[in-house]
Symmetry: C2
Amino acid sequence: MARIEETPWLDPVQQRAWRGYRRLRLLVDARVARDLAVDSGLSDPDYDVLSELSEASGHRRRLGELAERMLWSQSRMSHHVKRMQQRGLVRREECARDGRGAEIVLTAQGLRVIEEAAPHHVASVRRNLIDLLTAEQIAMLEQIADTVVEHVEPRL
Amino acid sequence: MARIEETPWLDPVQQRAWRGYRRLRLLVDARVARDLAVDSGLSDPDYDVLSELSEASGHRRRLGELAERMLWSQSRMSHHVKRMQQRGLVRREECARDGRGAEIVLTAQGLRVIEEAAPHHVASVRRNLIDLLTAEQIAMLEQIADTVVEHVEPRL
DNA sequence: CGGCAGTAGTTGATGTGTCATGTAGATCGT
DNA sequence: ACGATCTACATGACACATCAACTACTGCCG
């Protein structure tokens, strides 16, 4: 890799793009998170976990698998699941085939909560991002995300 | 506002854009934060505060002003400044004109740290986002961010 | 079978963000 | 000048994320 001293500073356009991205992220995330908390009593991560589980067959998944699909660390998932368990949203079950394993299962209450939360959340995402953009911008956003994810994913 | 039941679900393009955004955010932020921690021993918020202060006249700013410019809560700023103070990066001074006030001042060490960190950080931002995109994509990202910030900023 | 490296998950310490609340100094009306 | 109110900031409690151990089971190689 080139030496640090040779790395060019960001030009004005890049500078604005970077700062814009940061601010967009700050605003959109804060609002979506706040809506979710007010409307449904869930944190953003709560919602993601419930959503992932609700799409899984049998409403259950191995902890590690869950973590991997969501790009979370196992530790983070373990901590978070413990808290969600205490609130009755999910349940842990031992894994039959692997004594070390933990299966995380959506409870009836968890299912109810996510189903109630989903439409509000969609509305919030629309209000705070999607409906603000033109179709073209949305397509471009997806394209940008795909580009970045593709290039950045390999090297961790 | 329309009733929740009438809010349309996201169509496939919107869905992909939203998920793409989420993943982009996850990946880019994680990498930039990690680079910053490894290269300079700073967290992302640390960097932002130092950066903001280094651009201020006299390398100092009122706590509230700092918070407002960065879209942080005062509470968050207060907590964060306390931690940065303990590490010798910034210093608090009482405000002459307002007995309640706190001025946050960049220390010599803080200045050294940010100046050392900046080029690495720029390189990281390039690696993990900017240099992955075409000029057109960068322009579009800025445009998208501007659109969102403009529409979303007013109502809080 | 026995030993041992690898894997799945948990836990504790620490740093970070949020909300609700507390406190002291400013400001304004009378 | 004085009390009500507002403002700037601090704080405590809690939720959340990360890293570094640690535990316990698996699976493999002899």
